[in-house]
Symmetry: C2
Subunit: 273 residues, 2 copies
Amino acid sequence: MKFRRSERLVDMTNYLLEHPGELVSLTFFSERYQSAKSSISEDLTIIKETFEQRGIGSLTTIPGAAGGVKYMVSIKEEDAATFIDELCETIASPERLLPGGYLYMTDILGDPQTVNKVGRIIAARYAKANVSVIMTMATKGISLAYAVANYLNVPVVIVRRNNKVTEGSTVSINYVSGSSKRIQTMVLSKRSLVEGSNVLIVDDFMKAGGTMKGMVSLLEEFKATVAGIAVLVESEHNEERLIEDYISLIRLSEVDERDKKINVSRGNYFLNS
Amino acid sequence: MKFRRSERLVDMTNYLLEHPGELVSLTFFSERYQSAKSSISEDLTIIKETFEQRGIGSLTTIPGAAGGVKYMVSIKEEDAATFIDELCETIASPERLLPGGYLYMTDILGDPQTVNKVGRIIAARYAKANVSVIMTMATKGISLAYAVANYLNVPVVIVRRNNKVTEGSTVSINYVSGSSKRIQTMVLSKRSLVEGSNVLIVDDFMKAGGTMKGMVSLLEEFKATVAGIAVLVESEHNEERLIEDYISLIRLSEVDERDKKINVSRGNYFLNS
């Protein structure tokens, strides 16, 4: 049975969105819809234009017998900025202040629409960085790591503070927490990461960067490379920053528990672009 | 600027997929594309037919001034069965056996394509159950809970084993773990769940169901109702099952550590339908 163009457009859009970063051959679509490759090519031109115009993503066509089409996620600069400005306002609410100058962000990290948008912004920046794995520290960053992984279509590995029987044999390292200066342990299942992986580290929050530095050391144990480090919120502080090369979407510069004041602004993401 | 039908179809498909469970008014689309409502209605008919034919989901049209269209995720019965059978084979690999009869599933729970498919199967079953929140226990079930939440477009709340300063004030309960008979604690941030929520509990693994029963008790403290309980893998065991009403996608009936044998089959999901 043949498919009309309109049906093909709907199904192809869904298929491409579900397989970001994957090279899909024209033959696959041509057989899926019992349609000539020339028609498929025309479909893809329409999808490409709409994806670009709407900031949904880019479609790259690789010519030749082994070629095909690849969808990569993107976001319009102004959409990202508007969204982050709104999120800054949400975060700056005095009700979020917890004892010790911490911020309540659990609701934000549990809302799929918000987490997906943040994930999209981060994934868009690393879409061409050949990321093979997303890594995060349990537990608050997991939803965000998973959202980024979803858009880049790569697996997530989760570093823990302690051993669990369901993880099998593990590699563990000690590291110094940046702000509290305490020695802590982090653990990663041995079989969760293959040698030579190119890893994007994603987390919800960074202060001095001790945990991030720990994760970088852990990657060395696995002979893996760091594709990048991305955090939703970085918090300004008086001590030396332990890592240099990272992107942040939001910057917390002043948390005054007594006056219930939080100063929130755009992170360095918008400077680096 | 006017949009052609082909462009509208691509963008509407993306928009609907990104907003499952949301009622979108025809006026919204009509303004977004500078097109007559009659054209939008025709577009939606095409999308509806393709979504249903391909098992992507259902489109429900609510007529009247306050009406609109609502996308809900679905999956074809045979696609779900094929996928689960393949996953059974993956899980039955003897290399997954860990000391103590545990199974290594970390890679499965870290792979977005797999987790999304599992999430889709669970979400499809509860698409009409008015779920307002997904709840899971840290940390292994988080990716799965998040995938289900994504398809149902509702927030995730995460129950923990211990207090964290970033959670604010919490409610905690003690419960008896079903298999080890030990008394354990679970904790949920007070502001993470509003009274009257209708909660779908999602987890990766269930043995006797002690943790599940604990989560149900915790929900009573929050005056919330249980919309359902869904697990990826249930493990057969000799003791009494502590909860009755749940769905499982996969059933583990025999884990023989010595002979490196695992018996894996379809869960009760395929009986209940």
